[in-house]
């Protein structure tokens, strides 16, 4: 009986000791793992810091402007490209086919502009396509949302002018053109808004500088998009929420 008691207590002590040792080694392992992870985190944080610095360095506005001037036909937005919400006509809801024929009131700076304005240039380009989808019953909000898209459709004179394929270099005024450009760009018709009779009366008085007559305005965008205008439209488009790079670029002011 006495021997059995000893055996019981002895076994218990041995088991406790074994568990204790096991736990101690486990803890030691975990501590090592933690130290390793901490080291890794520090390294990662340092690389993140380097990448952030590099990102900021590459997104320096001075560099971005040079790049934009070299590769894009975009210009800084101007006051005349902003339009009051009230100046945009309501969509005539029941007859969707008649919508494009509705005449527009004056574009540009309207005499009756109140303080609230909406940037036309910032209108998402994909809505142009959705404008022609017949949707007979539109709520007020939807109608408001879609009204700006009528603007390009209401200027039918423009695409006839732009039958010739437009090269990006043709969009830049002759003075700014680098000499290395192919001569084919020169004879191409200057697709400035001033070239179309419809736009002359509306835009020319508001354009103070000859260099500003580039088709950054929505009015000069053709209804049937040619390859070059697609590029412009893509540039004007606001980044989608999923497009993280685009959002970042927008935040940094790259698209001005």
């Amino acid at each position: 009986m006495k021997g059995k008691t000893w055996l019981f207590w002895g076994g218990l002590i041995a088991a406790a000791g074994a568990v204790l040792f096991q736990t101690s080694y486990d803890v030691q392992d975990l501590e090592e793992k933690l130290a390793g992870l901490n080291r890794k985190i520090v390294t990662e944080q340092e690389s993140i810091q380097v990448l952030r610095a590099e990102w900021s360095y590459l997104n320096d506005p001075t560099k971005l402007e040079e790049l934009a001037r070299a590769h894009l036909a975009l210009q800084p937005t101007e006051a005349r490209q902003f339009l009051a919400l009230d100046a945009i006509p309501m969509r005539p809801a029941p007859t969707p086919d008649a919508a494009p024929q509705a005449p527009l009131p004056g574009r540009g700076v309207n005499p009756a502009l109140p303080a609230s304005v909406v940037p036309v240039a910032a209108t998402p380009a994909p809505q142009i396509a959705s404008a022609r989808i017949p949707s007979p019953k539109l709520s007020m909000d939807k109608a408001l949302e879609r009204t700006p898209v009528i603007v390009p459709a209401a200027l039918p004179a423009i695409p006839t002018v732009k039958t010739a394929p437009i090269k990006p270099s043709a969009l830049i005024p002759a003075a700014a053109k680098p000499p290395a450009m192919p001569p084919a760009a020169a004879p191409a018709p200057q697709p400035t808004p001033a070239a179309t009779p419809a736009a002359v009366g509306k835009l020319a008085p508001n354009a103070p500088l000859p260099a500003l007559n580039r088709p950054t305005d929505v009015a000069s965008r053709p209804v049937a998009p040619s390859p070059t205008t697609k590029v412009i439209a893509a540039g004007m488009q606001q980044p989608k929420p999923t497009d993280s790079l685009g959002m970042l670029v927008a935040r940094l002011g790259a698209n001005r």
């Binding site: 501590e31 933690l34 130290a35 992870l37 901490n38 985190i41 520090v42 944080q45 340092e46 810091q49 380097v50 952030r52 610095a53 590099e54 900021s56 360095y57 997104n59 320096d60 506005p61 001075t62 402007e65 040079e66 001037r69 070299a70 210009q75 800084p76 937005t77 101007e78 006051a79 005349r80 902003f82 700076v109 309207n110 005499p111 009756a112 502009l113 109140p114 303080a115 609230s116 304005v117 940037p119 003075a175 700014a176 680098p178 508001n206 103070p208 500088l209 260099a211 935040r251 940094l252 002011g253 001005r256």
Partner: protein
């Protein structure tokens, strides 16, 4: 002791109470009994202590020895100095971890071979210098600080014994020259030596996890610097300063001083480039000071905007004669004095107000002490002491008192924002936080000053600053520079203080050009209206959309109601209806158009 002493039966203990014969044996027995008792007591105490300590150590000390490793906190940074970011979170200054190379010459057996190898891996090192360092008898020498990872790899590959790396931090400025005068720079040991790096050095080191957020907007900073660079180039000026300022909060949205420097490598540069003209430089502001003279006159209640003052006869005081640049040879209203920037009219106005009132007003505007701006480069204004009559007269048109551009902008903001002086700051104000402010002029005065600002741009010396849609107003300034004891005719400071939109002012754009030379395009003029005003116009044109300022029609009734003023001092635009559009609409900007979009071929 509860139990009886060892080896003594109970009976004999009771028997020992009775007198017993004292034999030598009994005495020895007694002695050994006491010794045993003492020994037992000591052993028991020691074991009891150990037992108590054991219980305390295992059960009550919460886990025994402290842990060696702790999980890192999520928001902690690895660097010891906080980042500096702009108001949108773009990095302006950050710390990068680099490795610095050092050697222990005692451990290097063949210095010439080690030096040769090191120079082959790092060509910018000098062989003789490295050899000299390695063959010395110190225990520690720096070979090169802040290696790039590639260089570190190259040195690692050499396998030279006795050299090792030390982890160091290096300040890096992604925006480079763009914010050099605001952010400043640090020395080799990361202590701030200029700009915010110096002003906030303690804060940056004490709280490295939270970045320091400035009120600067990098995009505005870029526009401002680009236009100033173009202006300097066009007019062959020696320098320029520019400020974009939020009149409602006192935040500095952009601030540039040219020439500037590369904060990465500020040593060995011309000290002129390190000089911040926007905050440290104090200048006689010239006609821009008529803003404050007019505000003083209107706020005193003694002068109304339609009152007329003689601007024909020059004023003689002592050996000085005060005259106008281009006299109109007639009496002028207060509005016209401001419009044509008449010195004579300004002097006559201040003669009516009095010297003491002028001095008190200038002190209220903050012209007697440095601004509240957080930069260490904060200039002391040079105000006359004592403030005599002749000082009072010259100060009325901006000579005889020198203040920094930041002083001028902060004070002008208070004149047009409804009369509240906000101390200027370069740190972003938290949304919802209370903005410190002090009412310095009345609301009515501020309203009239807005109209006067607008009048100068609509039909005055500042026409070329007008931007369609943004209702710009402002005041030109041209001051002759003092060299030694004399004013020089052909070196001047031309400036323009513009604000927009004038019906509800939100931002001030200030441009100061140091010693512009007239060009053929400006018909030989290098005054504020020809040099600085077009630059301000171009800047407003570009930053208006960035700042989300709604565009309006300048001739709309509600805008004219808030901004109209005519030469007679009348604010009733309806009376002049046929005339109003022509006088209110600015012509397309004259002067230069080069700067907005410089062609790529142009050297920048």
């Amino acid at each position: 002791m509860k139990f009886p002493p060892f080896g003594l039966p109970f009976r004999s203990q009771s028997a020992s109470t009775a007198p017993a014969p004292r034999t030598t044996l009994a005495a020895a027995m007694e002695q050994s009994r006491y010794r045993l008792m003492v020994t037992a007591a000591v052993v028991t105490t020691v074991f009891a202590t150990i037992g108590v300590k054991l219980v305390a150590a295992t059960l009550f000390s919460q886990g025994g020895e402290p842990r060696q490793h702790h999980a890192l906190e999520l928001d902690s940074t690895t660097t010891n100095r906080a980042d500096i970011v702009d108001r949108n979170g773009n990095l302006l200054a950050t710390s990068l971890v680099t490795q610095s190379l050092y050697a222990d010459p005692k451990l290097i057996s063949r210095p010439e071979e080690a030096a040769r190898k090191l120079v082959s891996a790092l060509p910018e090192l000098d062989y003789k210098e490295v050899y000299g360092k390695l063959s010395g008898d110190k225990r520690f020498v720096w070979l090169k600080r802040n290696l790039t990872p590639k260089q570190q790899y190259a040195v690692h590959r050499l396998g030279v014994p006795g050299i090792s790396f030390e982890r160091e931090e290096r300040r890096f400025y992604p925006a480079g020259n763009l914010t050099s005068h605001v952010v400043g720079f640090t020395g080799v040991d990361n202590n701030g030596l200029a700009g915010l790096e110096q002003g906030f050095s303690k804060r940056l080191n004490e709280d490295p996890a939270t970045p320091l957020q400035l009120s600067i907007d990098l995009r505005l900073q870029h526009v401002l610097r680009k236009e100033l660079t173009a202006t300097i180039q066009e007019f062959s000026a020696i320098g320029a300063a520019g400020i974009v300022y939020d009149v409602r909060t006192g935040e500095v949205m952009a601030m540039t001083s040219l020439p500037d420097f590369d904060p990465q490598d500020p040593t060995g540069l011309n000290p002129d480039t390190l000089f911040n003209r926007a905050t440290l430089g104090v200048y006689e502001m010239g006609s821009t000071f008529k803003i404050f003279n007019s505000a003083l006159a209107l706020d005193s209640g003694k002068i109304r905007v339609s009152d007329t003052f003689d601007a024909v006869h020059p004023i003689k005081i002592g050996r000085f004669t005060i005259n106008d640049y281009h006299s109109l040879h007639r009496a002028l209203t207060v509005a016209e004095v401001f419009q044509h920037s008449s010195n004579l009219g300004s002097v006559r106005m201040v003669q009516l107000i009095g010297i003491a009132a002028q001095r008190a007003f200038m002190a209220k505007m903050g012209f007697m002490r440095p601004t509240a701006l957080e930069l260490p480069e904060n200039g002391w204004p040079l105000a006359p002491n004592p403030w005599r009559e002749v000082n009072s007269m010259t100060i009325s048109f901006g000579h005889g008192i020198s203040v920094s551009p930041m002083h001028t902008v902060a004070a002008a903001a208070s004149v047009i924002n409804g009369g509240v002086f906000h101390p200027p700051t370069i740190l972003r104000r938290q949304p919802g936080a209370e903005i410190p402010g002090e009412q310095v002029v009345s609301r009515q005065t501020s309203d009239m000053m807005r109209r006067m600002f607008r009048f100068v741009v609509a039909d005055g010396t500042g026409k070329s600053a007008g931007v369609k849609g943004y209702v710009v107003g402002g005041k030109t300034g041209t001051a002759d520079k003092q060299k030694g004891r004399h004013y020089q005719k052909n070196s001047r400071m031309s400036s323009f203080l513009g604000a927009f939109p004038m019906h509800d002012p939100r931002y001030i754009v200030y441009v100061l050009v140091d010693e512009p030379k007239a060009t053929a395009k400006t018909y030989g003029y290098a005054t504020g209206g020809w040099v600085a005003a077009p630059a301000v116009g171009r800047i407003i044109k570009q930053i208006g959309p960035l700042l989300d300022v709604p565009t309006v029609d300048e001739n709309a009734p509600e805008i004219l109601n808030a901004t109209f003023l005519n030469a007679a001092g009348s604010t009733n635009w309806a009376q002049q209806a046929p005339n109003a559009p022509s006088s209110a609409a600015p012509p397309p900007p004259k002067g230069s158009t080069v700067a907005s979009f410089p062609t790529p071929a142009k050297p920048r």
